[in-house]
Subunit: 148 residues, 2 copies
DNA sequence: CCATTTGCATAGACAGTGAATATAAGTCTG
DNA sequence: CAGACTTATATTCACTGTCTATGCAAATGG
């Protein structure tokens, strides 16, 4: 297969898998809220505007979202000493715990599917692990870069 | 790596990739609407209740969703001759075209990311293609099966 | 036939989101 | 250092998507 054809085939397979996986995510919380908690877990406290840009929503939407998360005890608001306009949003222990549980549920769902693969197929995926992790890193960088 | 550890590592990588990909999907339409159109493109005309179960929403939600899609010209309602209660929802040519465009956009996004991989990484993904397609098939079957 | 079941539509309520705007704090300019 | 501008967040209003509860018409089974 040509390199170009390979990209198209891999892209199609990953797109199909990703769209199907997206439909199975738990709906006890909006996708944006879950993504925001995951971002906080990954990068530490952030300001509202920063989070809004990272998740691709407007600032008012993020303000409302943070208010709900705060009422649920998943995040805390903390003022910034050097700039009193700023609200720093911090993950609480309950929030961190929620992120871990949700992530584990997603990983478990994939593990169940992997259980239906042949031994050779699992081996092939193990060999492709560095590539998958690299793709994830490239995606993260691409998103962060294009928003700033 | 043990087979068990392998599943966990692959699951984590795929989950991470899927959740990141989900956030980049176009937002000109709800996830459910896009998924419904994709289901219609994949399996042909379906009745409302059937679509609601397939997408994991209630029947009233699917009724409302189909109404919007119909107003946009992406689907058509057709009565069923043998059972006059039934509404068969059919994809129009415009709807099929939208599904193709959206899918292509998603595939393109992955292709761009794949362009940042090394040659060896691409080779590994090509070798894992059958496994990825098998996973997609397992997921589809799992969802269809658990809802009926 | 009449009661029940099935398939879809409607009504009412609520969460999430965006656009426009308000408020308050910081920063710059002359 | 006073006033204008910019930045960070909050508020308001409207709209969409979803749910639960319910209504209605067609099919089905004694």
């Amino acid at each position: 297969m040509s390199r170009r054809g390979a990209s198209a085939a891999i892209g199609a397979a990953l797109y199909g898998l990703a769209t199907r996986a997206a439909r199975r995510l738990p709906r006890d919380m909006s996708l944006t809220s879950a993504a925001t908690l995951a971002t906080l877990a990954r990068t530490g406290p952030r300001r509202i505007t920063d989070l809004a840009a990272a998740e691709g929503v407007t600032q008012p939407a993020m303000t409302a979202l943070v208010r709900v998360l705060e009422e649920s005890g998943l995040v805390e608001r903390r003022g910034d000493a050097s700039d009193k306009r700023v609200t720093r949003v911090c993950l609480t222990e309950a929030g961190a715990s929620y992120v871990r549980m949700r992530r584990q549920a997603g990983v478990d769902a994939f593990e169940r599917l992997i259980g239906g693969l042949t031994h050779d197929e699992v081996d092939a995926l193990v060999a492709a692990l560095p590539a998958l992790k690299h793709l994830e890193e490239l995606e993260t960088r691409d998103r962060d870069g294009s928003k700033r």
